[in-house]
Symmetry: C2
Subunit: 225 residues, 2 copies
């Protein structure tokens, strides 16, 4: 099993607040995420700045495309994003145009699984050519204040991987949660506040990388594509 | 029947390209729309600039919220938006937090109807407190290159109005289409390119207002709320 990558989610209300922690943690980060909030707050200027600062890292623009896919994807790719996100509520037609834009430039698309999706849809998305999905912790538990990962969450990730998807785990993972992912094929672990708001973002990011290596081995991370 | 308002959709790739036509057409515009593309390109700076320039007009931020509703709504309202949009694929929980943010500030929410919604959902949205919807021309026709309005489009708008929704007609309306809306209760007509790209945006916007007045009477436009 490949070693998953570590993604830092920069969900801040302005660019400077994102740049500080990112710059300190940079050595330990594989994927830089311009979060939805940052994209809305600063526009594609934020993506351009992160591209300029980190030319060799994977850059994700979490634009959560629901419609007007072709134009938003173009905006994000032109700004330097390697990956853009679409939401599971988008129509297959929208997903297709986003995939088309991505393929033209050898970039990729992540599909964010939002409550209400079905396994039949997941199979259709795979057939459409979607290769990456973003899985969340059960929202029902979250709504009740229970932030622990459930066996059902891991079953879902395994089943998504079995369908052929590369699975990103969305925010909320703590270092101590990592051992529970043993045997679950994960492409990217996304961490936000736990690194961004840490007293030392570099130390926090390094701790995540070490925890990932303990669970998955210290080999090369999975390919960026 | 109230006279519908005229909305100019500013869907440009940068702010200056939006400001030129908007400034020229301003006298004839009731609602200023910071389009999805503009919001992603320039961030909430675009909304702030439009608020500063047109303090007395209704300002819509077409942020198409699919998730993370509370934070995106806050960003847009803080920047000066009167209305924000959510997509019909968002969960009722997301819609509720966006409505909650709007009510706190006496602002409002528009729900964008994206292919795949059902009338049962529409009734639920109304019960949830959603008061405004954005209706499109049939996408099937559009995909086949047929841009005419169909009797079914008008039936859908009437039925939405019967449910108690204030209906915005999304882009693509031409001056010559207006007579076909006679008897259809519309809250806002959205026009983009037909005004923005006109040789004289003021003349084009005035022609729309006159066509609206011919169909709906020259009374006061509907309340902004």
């Amino acid at each position: 099993m490949h070693r998953p990558m570590l993604q830092l989610a920069l969900d801040t209300f302005d660019l400077p607040s994102a740049l500080g922690p990112m710059q300190r943690a940079a050595t330990h980060i594989d994927v830089v995420e311009a979060g939805t909030i940052l994209c809305y707050a600063e526009g594609m200027h934020a993506v351009r700045a992160l591209r300029a600062l980190y030319p060799d890292k994977v850059l994700l623009a979490d634009v959560r495309i629901a419609e007007a896919g072709s134009i938003i994807a173009k905006l994000a790719f032109d700004a330097g994003a390697d990956w853009v996100t679409v939401v599971s509520g988008a129509t297959p037609a929208t997903m297709e145009v986003v995939l088309g834009e991505a393929r033209k430039r050898e970039r990729d698309v992540q599909l964010e699984l939002i409550d209400g999706w079905t396994w039949a849809q997941a199979a259709d998305w795979r057939a459409l050519g979607i290769e990456q999905v973003i899985a969340h912790r059960s929202r029902d538990g979250e709504a009740l204040g229970d932030l622990s990962w459930k066996p059902g969450d891991f079953d879902e990730m395994r089943r998504l991987a079995d369908l052929g998807f590369k699975v990103t785990v969305a925010g909320g993972v703590e270092v101590d949660d990592l051992p529970r992912f043993a045997g679950v094929p994960i492409h990217v672990f996304t961490v936000g506040r736990a690194i961004r708001a840490a007293a030392d973002p570099a130390v926090a990011a390094k701790a995540f990388q070490e925890a990932i290596a303990r669970v998955y081995g210290a080999g090369e991370p999975v390919a960026a594509g």
